[in-house]
């Protein structure tokens, strides 16, 4: 981790302070009940081809605008909360990546992760079980640089 940072500094990389970005967040319910309704988003089709749940539906689709260093909260069904923070941006000609921290809390359980993903790239994060039935929530998170 230290070496990575040292190299990044040496190479003139680092956080592009002041950079703004939009985070697209889809809250998707994956379940073994029923059929997936109607036309599906790119994210759901990807999940459908990856996971063996029978149906997927988008519960909500939001956009949050953040500056680097800022965070935002999403209140999910059944009392879960997702905190998403924009930690940094690397602006390069071929690879623009965004570093995010995603923390999901549900009751006494939590998942806390930091990752870098390319501009516009989607990461799916498990967001807890629903209170009833055997369905689960998945967040599809994609940052878009301005």
């Amino acid at each position: 981790m230290m070496i990575g940072t040292a190299l990044m500094v040496a190479l003139g990389l680092g956080n592009a302070a002041g950079a703004g970005l939009t985070i697209d967040v889809q809250v998707i319910e994956a379940s073994n009940n029923g059929d997936s309704p109607g036309a599906q988003s790119v994210a759901i089709r990807d999940l459908g081809a990856t996971l063996s749940y029978k149906s997927f539906r988008t519960l909500s689709s939001e956009q949050r605008v953040l500056a680097v260093g800022e965070g935002t909260d999403l209140f999910l069904p059944d009392g879960a909360v997702a905190h998403i923070s924009a930690l940094g941006v690397e602006e390069k000609k071929r690879n623009r990546t965004v570093r995010l921290r995603v923390r999901i809390e549900q009751g006494q359980e939590s998942l806390d992760t930091e990752y870098s993903v390319r501009n516009g790239g989607t990461v799916f994060v498990s967001a807890g079980k629903r209170a009833t039935g055997d369905s689960v929530l998945v967040l599809a998170i994609a940052p878009h640089l301005k």
Binding site: I3, G4, N95, T113, S116, R118, V123, F124, D134
Partner: protein
């Protein structure tokens, strides 16, 4: 049976596609409102559109997983940059974190080469296509842990699995 109508099928087809002038569209709109024959013919067109649309959804599901990744893999590769060539000589990043000697060597290497690398557009932690680079994951749970794997389209999935799951590989989780 509605009375026969003077509007040709071709004209009705253009009307349905909204490929007429505004004046003609408005005129035909008014005609269709009161013409049973046109309405029935349009209804048949609507059925065909609906069936084709539904079939299209089937085709969607049949799009092979990893299609986009396959396209990118077939694209001509850009010429290797200096960083990429240099990286081929350096040990893997994990190994660099072990030992002060390795740290010092890598830092000095970076300093020596920094000026000429500054204009390169790659970096040592290049993310390939959709794959995210996970820096850390912490799970607080009595009975679950996290697993990272790749989706069908090459996106990263961070998934919670029961801690008793002994399959530590990249298997796709089935059910909770």
């Amino acid at each position: 049976m509605p009375p026969p109508c003077h509007v040709s099928g071709l004209e009705l087809s253009r009307y349905r596609d909204r490929e007429l002038s505004s004046a003609n569209l408005a005129e035909l709109e008014k005609h269709v409102e009161g013409c049973g024959s046109c309405q029935l013919r349009l209804a048949d067109s609507a059925v065909l559109s609906r069936l084709l649309g539904a079939q299209f959804l089937q085709a969607e599901h049949a799009l092979p997983p990893g299609f986009a990744r396959g396209v990118m893999a077939r694209l001509p590769q850009p010429p290797p940059t200096l960083i990429a060539t240099l990286r081929a000589w350096l040990p893997p990043r994990r190994a660099l974190t072990l030992g002060l000697v390795g740290v010092a060597a890598a830092a000095s290497l970076a300093i020596v080469f920094a000026p000429s690398l500054r204009n390169q557009d790659d970096h040592l932690q290049e993310t390939t296509e959709n794959e995210a680079q996970i820096h850390s994951i912490e799970v607080t749970s009595p009975d679950r842990s996290a697993m990272v794997f790749e989706s069908a389209e090459g996106n990263t999935v961070i998934w919670m699995v029961p801690s008793t799951d002994e399959d530590g590989g990249q298997a796709t989780p089935a059910e909770p």
